[in-house]
């Protein structure tokens, strides 16, 4: 899981704007439904939780099930009233957490 998430959001916005945020995390999202060539079930390994915070306050989060496609993509909105930092986290079934941050200037 050395892969880096991809983020797309504006660098600048006006106060009160609702901006669009796109995120993509490279990940196999192994469903736990597949079998290997010996007929053994391949254990489930997915990103089960995503969170987005702005200046420490929750904006959006998602609990994900194995029905989310590989390389989980999430698009959502945020209403920005002040400049600050978005923090995104992805939690793996194995307990590891990957996070990423992006700043936005609100004028």
């Amino acid at each position: 899981m050395a892969e880096k998430p991809r983020l797309k959001l504006p660098k600048e916005a006006k106060k009160g704007d609702v901006i669009e945020i796109k995120t993509l995390m490279p990940h196999i999202m192994e469903s736990g439904q597949r079998k290997d060539k010996d007929g053994k079930t391949i254990p489930r390994k997915i990103i089960n939780k995503f969170t987005a915070e702005f200046n420490g306050k929750p904006v959006f989060s998602a609990n994900l099930d194995p029905a989310i496609a590989a390389n989980p993509y999430l698009q959502f909105s945020a209403k920005v009233e002040e400049s600050g930092t978005f923090k995104f986290t992805w939690t793996d079934d194995d307990g590891s957490v990957i996070s990423a941050e992006e700043k936005i200037t609100v004028g």
């Binding site: 609702v18 901006i19 993509l24 490279p26 469903s31 439904q33 597949r34 079998k35 702005f54 306050k57 929750p58 904006v59 959006f60 989060s61 998602a62 609990n63 994900l64 099930d65 194995p66 029905a67 989310i68 496609a69 590989a70 390389n71 989980p72 993509y73 999430l74 698009q75 959502f76 909105s77 945020a78 209403k79």
Partner: protein
């Protein structure tokens, strides 16, 4: 009866390089009741009004391994009254759960998009909960062409 329910789908990963074979080993329709149970758990047994929920999905998904889904709830997003949670379930998958989205007044809009896996032709059901404890629902049928991506 097991072999009847085996589905194999070929899918190309985002990079186009990864080729994956998916085998579902439970009857697809088994999840319909589980989906209803999951919704009942989410609403606490309350009836959800068939309103305000828009679901964007292709009518026909050739590749069930990555189907674009967009959900939007036509409701206010103020500190006093906002859409707090949105449950997405798939009636025909081996497990009905797809995702639960959590919104806040800072979300601005109760809208989210992702890409989902669908084992077979089925209904996708979305249930939204507001901060006032109201529930709204909508559903959409997606036809899934198994192995339809040149496999």
């Amino acid at each position: 009866m097991r072999q009847l329910s085996r589905r194999a789908a070929l899918a190309f990963g985002a990079g186009g390089a990864a080729l994956t074979i998916v085998g579902w080993d439970r009857p697809a329709f088994a999840a319909a009741k589980e989906a209803a149970d999951e919704i009942a758990k989410f609403t606490g047994g309350k009836t959800a009004a068939k309103a305000k929920v828009s679901i964007e999905l292709p009518e026909i998904a050739e590749n069930g391994n990555t189907v674009p889904l967009a959900v939007s709830i036509d409701a206010p997003m103020t500190a006093e009254n906002y859409v707090s949670e949105v449950l997405v379930v798939a009636e025909g998958n081996p497990n009905p759960g797809v995702a639960t989205f959590h919104f806040s007044p800072m979300s601005g809009k109760a809208e989210a998009s992702t890409r989902i896996r669908l084992a077979t032709t089925q209904n996708i059901v979305v249930v939204a909960k507001t901060s006032k404890g109201e529930f709204f629902t909508g559903q959409k049928l997606v036809k899934v062409t198994i192995g339809g991506c040149g496999g």
